[in-house]
Amino acid sequence: MMTNTGNRITQGQFSFLPDLTDAQITAQIRYALKNQWAVSVEYTDDPHPRNTYWEMYGNPMFDLKDPAGILMQINNCRKTFPNHYIRVMAFNSARGVESPAMSFIVNRPETEPGFGLVRQEVDGRAIRYTVHSYATDKPENERY
């Protein structure tokens, strides 16, 4: 049974929606800046759900007033990695929170092969299950 027909990975906010337009991304970033969160851009070509730490594209952007600067950074990242996953994160540095407050994908590879189920036979008849991304069969930077 296929519940996710487009094989689109669903991580972070808005991932069940169609891709956000630049105007929508700008609106989201404006909200983050209004809350004084530091916004950063990250990319990866390993979409496994447990791959939490993506590569940083430049430093997190502190002290920004306007979303235009971040959109510029996003577009630069898209140009450099057109076929990678790119996400935008907003980090809330308030004491006691100190964690990402927003995270959403702004760029995806053209085709996403999705995940396969791997069965591992262990002790006796027991079986362990895990998911495996088809894309990661290839070496880095050749995956999409």
Binding site: N59, L64, K65, M72
Partner: protein
Amino acid sequence: MGDIQTQIGDPGIDLGELFRNSHIREVLDQLDRDLVGLKPVKTRIREIAALLLVDRVRKQLGMTGGAPSLHMSFTGNPGTGKTTVAMRMAEILHRLGYLRQGHLVAVTRDDLVGQYIGHTAPKTKEILKKAMGGVLFIDEAYYLYRPENERDYGQEAIEILLQVMENQRDDLVVILAGYKDRMDRFFQSNPGMSSRIAHHIDFPDYAIDELLAISELMLGRMQYRLSEQAKDTLRAYIARRITRPNFANARSLRNALDRARLRQANRLFEAAAPVSADALATIEADDLLKSRVFEDEAPAQP
């Protein structure tokens, strides 16, 4: 086309009404009050305000002229108010709806140019990102370009700047500032920069009367005032100071007044008598006369 013409012909738009609603007058009035002299600067600001207002009306009627380029260059001697005006400019453009945030990011060469290969571009882009939605004020911009060193990284910063100035005209306004002759040389060697800047504004030096008015404004802000005698002394002081080398207009004046405050405090302290509020707020001629500027001609004085 005919559509637009009837629209203009029929109701007639009251520009004065729009002007009042935009609260731009308050900013311009404040500019008039706080900044003495600077005629050409004020005229140009008024023109820009008018242009943006008209542009907004045109947009309402569906006429597109494209966003005007508002990058500027401020040239003038030290202390003529370039930074102050830039700060105001950010606020004015924000009120006119040209800038979204209206903040000012003031930088110099150090903030834009890196120390080794590959360091400049991220540094410049970082600053540009911070300035988005506001004004990027580059003080002493001519230091960006060092012709004597062909491997200087300043050129890289200039190229990135030019690119953003061209492509993201409605996201930020770049203001370059510096001394007149050096800025002229800078523009000569960077024609791309010169042609992308629409407004070259020259800040004139202040006359003695203007400097006097400025000093009274400054003192008023600090809750001091000059005694009648001190006013004459200050005029004499300015007349002498203006001919000295390194005279930096309003900045020199502010320093002179700070020194006068110092001497006033010292005088009150040494008098060792109870002081009235009046005495605390008044700067006497004596406080100014002790300045080094008067020293040269000490024998001539009684």
